[in-house]
Symmetry: C2
Subunit: 291 residues, 2 copies
């Protein structure tokens, strides 16, 4: 058996049976739900799961129902062979890689949706997106029944939505959110970075630069969220290939907009670089003593 | 310990911990979800669960989110003490009777909804009703994690909706639907029968009479669903206190309307008797050799 050998399960029934056996044997199980095309950001999630649970399941599923009709479902990058190698190298115990038709049969008609916290931010730009996410995550939670699920902080609103859904429906699953992994340039790792030309890749660093700028402006005393956003907008508008989808400064839990920055907040943004939509976010503390 | 003694759990965490222990001990668990005010119909569900599983949980919860603003949430009959005695006498192992605030906290904002099969029939008369049902059932399924859940056929559309939701979200729970229990008059047992005056109670038998009439008409050769419905309508309209909400003849699985009765169908109806809305249904087979 090679080091990179790892079971790849494609059938929902097979998946459920496997983790049921583990659970009855007293194992703790972690799930890392992904859309594949795994990078070092995902690797960090798998390592985190590895530390916390006896068995680690990585799901790889490009979920059609979370893409809008004009979005990149068909072109979303896929590399199952590379994904299997990466997940195995990071110590995952099993890969769940179902076909779309295995999860969504012809009579499928159920939706799990979350109200308030999905409005605004990415929810405004991508109607239906979060209902697609919470539906597939609920379904994966039921198939795998993990004790723990690990998500990345790059999709900050998604993590908050899933935490809400999981708590509201009493899934009894710990939702763990791991820090964003960045290139040395500051660019947050994303499978969609593969869409960028070399020049766009350089220009895409403006997302993180604008977050750092916001942090600096707040640290030097600015408390007006509108003014902080204005500074970010100016910086980003200086990049010709950029088009801002949104910039927001919000409460880190409710995701409600904050107008006066008198406590820790989260700055979030979505920006098109050329035709590629990228997102990023950063915790910003008005207290300069905090990291 | 008296024969009628039985643990009553009110906290969600306590409920989840109890069945987790049973599951790890290898028990099979059945859930009978009810809104309380238990009658012989519920008793038959508990007995059915008792036959099929080692541990039987009866949940008693008048679920506010499945009632419309002008419906009878506040006045819905309640008798927890009587319910505990009945469930214990039928051999239930545990009662789960949470407060509404324990299931729906102030930040609750998640909905589980089913599309096609909730349209029409009760879904038309009671907008939002089935989303309230599927949301609370998903939540109860997660708290109890039963192997089996037993529902009554009186709420025929509800059972079909729950079966769809459970399959779509891969709950891995067997959905068992038990036959309707009737008084000797033919009236289907319902907690809402308690709203009826003695005279209304007699008049309410027209629901089942109309179903029997439909069966007879089909057995004597009528295949046109419209004509069968017309015969039912005429019979019911003869009762002064009645007001028909709907009468339908549908495919037993998809609940799509049937126009030509060339196979087994389900006849369903909802009728107000005075101010009380009652429902009933019957399988109708065009083959006179079948029961």
């Amino acid at each position: 058996m090679e080091m990179s050998e790892i079971p790849v399960v494609t059938s929902p029934a097979g998946m459920a049976a496997m983790t049921e056996r583990w659970r009855l044997a007293g194992e703790t199980i972690a799930l890392v739900p992904t859309m594949g095309y795994l990078h070092e950001g995902h690797a960090s999630l798998i390592r985190r799961a590895r530390e916390k649970a006896g068995k680690v399941v990585v799901s790889i599923f490009v979920n059609p129902i979370q893409f809008g009709p004009n979005e990149d479902y068909a072109s979303y990058p896929r590399d199952l062979k590379g994904d299997i190698a990466l997940a195995a190298a990071e110590g995952a115990d099993l890969i769940f890689a179902p076909e779309a038709a295995a999860l969504y049969g012809p009579d499928f008609q159920t939706t799990v949706s979350v109200a308030k916290i999905t409005q605004g931010l990415c929810g405004t730009s991508r109607p239906g997106h979060f209902a697609g996410v919470t539906t597939v995550v609920a379904l994966l939670f039921n198939l795998v029944r993990p004790h723990l699920a690990v998500f990345g902080a790059k999709d900050y609103q998604q993590a908050a939505v899933i935490r809400r859904m999981s708590a509201d429906l009493f899934f009894g699953i710990e939702i763990d959110v791991a820090p964003i992994v960045r290139e040395s340039s500051g660019l947050a790792l994303s499978s969609r970075n593969s869409y960028l030309s070399p020049q766009e890749r350089a220009e895409a660093t403006v997302l993180f630069q604008s977050l750092r700028l916001a942090e600096g402006v707040v640290r030097s005393g600015e408390r007006d969220a509108g003014k902080v956003i204005e500074a970010m907008r100016e910086l980003i508008d200086g990049v010709a290939s950029s088009r801002i989808d949104y910039i927001a400064i919000v409460d880190p839990d409710s995701l409600e907009p904050v107008t006066v920055i008198d406590r820790d907040v989260r700055a979030l943004l979505a920006v098109y670089i050329g035709t590629t939509r990228l997102i990023d976010n950063l915790r910003i503390s008005p207290d300069p003593g905090r990291p």
